[in-house]
């Protein structure tokens, strides 16, 4: 079940911006703490399969997750832990999927970032990049058929994923159907090891928007304030009937592609540039500077995040692992049509 971790109100949009900002920071912090934890478990050999972090993209992701509300749809991608939490994913869904717990949402059948709860609005990504865009479109088409108004569907992509045919077909479909799709493209300068000049030739990915006939927005992904405003604004425009919105956020991936990768190829110049700023630190300083939180509060939030994560890890560790003998090994829902049953 999707839920809200402790410390959050039921409504995400607070009356004043400082409160929104504080909440956003807490999700970002929780995501960072959770991902740091899974990383160390991975390094300690406690996690099989890949580990992929959203480090440096928490501001973009949280702004997406927070702009959504009940009845909206979110199809997060690999660097969306902050947005997942903000949208309502529990920390145990995160830990249980990485660990592969039988009682987790993916029951050990799928792992790490490939999780979701489709019935609760969070679509489980498949690996094939770009493939979720049209699936979100379909949910939004269903809402239209069902007369469910004012819902929004958001999904994320990287710079690399804009080279896929699926991205293109999906965004064009949304444009033709005038769907309330918000596509948040994060240009984090690399697709795995591939720099952007081997990926696209336009000056800025936001220039793609006009060719689809959709609104385009640019945002500095290291700055939480801008992310909340621009992505939040895009979601509102989609909700208000202005059709698909494409947001291009810029940032730098502050981790390897996955934790098996040291990212040695990331150019030092980029790390030293404004793109290389850590959005979590930037927002941390901003909170202090604006007086929206004092150091003590920030420390307590951190402790709180750590204890939530530790608890969720402990919980996942106690959960049973999948048991092949108890698996039904049946891929289909219509059991009477399973081979052997006919």
């Amino acid at each position: 079940m999707l839920q809200k971790p402790e410390g959050s109100d039921s409504t995400q949009r607070a009356a004043n911006f400082s409160e929104t900002y504080r909440r956003a920071y807490r999700w970002m912090l929780l995501a960072r703490v959770a991902e740091d934890k899974i990383r160390s478990l991975f390094l300690g050999g406690k996690v099989t399969g890949g580990v992929f972090l959203g480090k440096g993209q928490e501001a973009i992701s949280v702004a997406t997750g927070m702009a959504l509300r009940d009845g909206d749809i979110f199809a997060p991608l690999i660097r969306d832990q902050a947005g997942r939490f903000a949208f309502g994913e529990s920390v145990v869904d995160f830990t249980m999927t990485y660990i592969g717990s039988r009682s987790g949402p993916m029951r050990g059948r799928d792992g790490n970032i490939h999780r979701g709860r489709p019935r609760e609005g969070m679509l489980p990504m498949i690996s094939h990049l770009g493939a979720m865009v049209s699936v979100v479109n379909g949910v939004l088409m269903a809402h239209r058929f069902q007369g469910r108004r004012n819902t929004v569907g958001a999904t994320s992509l990287g710079d690399g994923a804009t080279s896929t045919g699926a991205f293109h077909e999906g965004l064009n479909q949304a444009a033709v159907e005038k769907l309330p799709l918000v596509l948040v493209v994060t240009n984090n300068q690399y697709a795995y090891s591939t720099p952007t000049d081997r990926q696209f030739a336009c000056a800025d990915l936001v220039e793609k928007a006009v060719g689809y006939g959709v609104d385009g927005h640019s945002v500095d992904g290291t700055d939480l304030t801008s992310c909340l405003k621009v992505i939040g604004g895009a979601v509102e425009r989609a909700r208000n009937g202005f059709g698909p919105q494409m947001v291009v956020a810029t940032s730098l991936r502050l981790s390897g592609h996955g934790e098996h990768d040291d990212g040695h190829y990331v150019l030092p110049d980029l790390k030293d540039s404004a793109l290389g700023r850590d959005c979590l630190q930037v927002s941390h300083s901003h909170l202090l500077k604006e007086g929206w939180a004092d150091q003590e509060t920030l420390d307590s939030w951190k402790r709180d995040s750590i204890s939530q994560v530790d608890e969720a890890v402990a919980h996942a560790m106690r959960e049973p692992l999948p048991d092949p003998a108890r698996e039904d090994w049946c891929a289909i829902a219509s059991r009477h049509l399973a081979e052997g049953n006919v």
Binding site: P124, V135, G138, F145, Q173, V176, A331, A333
Partner: protein, 320 residues
């Protein structure tokens, strides 16, 4: 008289009328009624529920999956089965895995106008049922009769899994029935289309009619072929096949698709492993040749099995 194509149209009309969750999506299917007219007049009769799509097979299927998650029952049309290769990833990796991964079913129907017709060439003639059957998570139906085209499409809408509906273009206009059925065998059950004692011919889709013609030919020679119409190729009703082989002791599997790993390979593997002791002679199979489907009718007529080549294979089988 109602044609195979009209039966498909009627099933969709019925589904639209009976079930508000059903909608149709595909290229040129709305006002135009589809390249083959399988949705003729449906956009007019059900406004807003029959939608023209862009030329984006990947997105067509992707969106159907999303809609299915949210409670709809989309029926999507590929203009030709051959173009489903562009939607391949969404079908085999997104639709086929969703229920197994999440427990949430993915009830979509992908209609594939399949199979060869003279002059259609390599890209408008393919029979891709084996490709989809290899992946776990899909139901593959292959109606050979007007009645099955109708009833199996209606039943497909009730199935919680993605259904690949392989309808045969060669049957669209030529195959006719008196009326639509009110009762039907369920999907998953094969049908003995002709009874016989001497050998079992296992087939499906348009090849059923070639096999029945071959059986007529052999009847004139005193041989009685039993012809089994699989109706769905995933699942395969192995029991009905084996029961027939138990009676006849001989089996010939016939398919229009390519040989390597096709339905006929799967049938032979099942009969040989599960029904070895029923066999009085080596099992045989007959498929199209292992080349793309040729354009010119001279070549096309030789590329696929026909009543003549099936009869010849059956004679060989009977004399073993």
């Amino acid at each position: 008289m109602i044609t195979y194509l009209e039966a498909i149209r009627e099933a969709q009309a019925h589904a639209l009328a009976a079930d508000p969750r059903v909608y149709l999506y595909g290229q040129d299917i709305a006002t135009f009624g589809g390249a083959f007219k399988a949705t003729k007049n449906l956009a007019q009769a059900y406004p807003g529920r029959v939608l023209d799509s862009p030329i984006s097979e990947d997105a067509i299927v992707g969106s159907a999956i999303g809609a299915a998650i949210e409670g709809m029952r989309p029926i999507v049309e590929m203009q030709f089965a051959d173009f489903s290769t562009v939607a391949f990833n969404q079908i085999v990796n997104q639709a086929a895995t969703l229920h197994w991964r999440t427990g949430v079913p993915c009830p979509i129907i992908v209609r594939l106008p399949s199979g060869g017709t003279p002059g259609s060439g390599p890209f408008h003639s393919q029979s891709l049922e084996a490709i989809y059957a290899h992946y776990p998570g899909l139901i593959i139906v292959t109606p050979a009769t007007v009645e099955d085209a109708y009833s199996m499409l209606l039943e497909s809408i009730t199935i919680e899994d993605p259904v690949i509906f392989c309808e045969h273009k060669y049957l669209y206009y030529h195959l006719k029935a008196e009326s639509l059925p009110s009762e039907a065998l369920p999907i998953g059950k094969a049908r003995v289309a002709r009874q016989g004692r001497d050998a079992t011919v296992v087939t499906y889709s348009a090849m059923l009619h070639e096999c029945l013609a071959a059986a007529e030919e052999l009847a004139a020679e005193g041989w009685e072929l039993e012809v089994v119409d699989l109706r769905s190729i995933k699942p395969i009703d192995t029991d009905t096949v084996l029961a027939s082989v138990a009676r006849t002791g001989r089996v010939l599997a016939v398919g229009e698709a390519w040989p390597w790993g096709g339905v006929t390979a799967e049938i032979l593997a099942r009969v040989a492993s599960e029904g070895f002791n029923l066999l009085d002679a080596p099992p045989m199979r007959l498929n199209s040749k292992d080349t793309p489907v040729p354009f010119h009718p001279n070549l096309w007529g030789t590329h696929r099995p026909t009543a003549q080549t099936i009869a010849a294979a059956a004679r060989t089988l009977l004399n073993k």
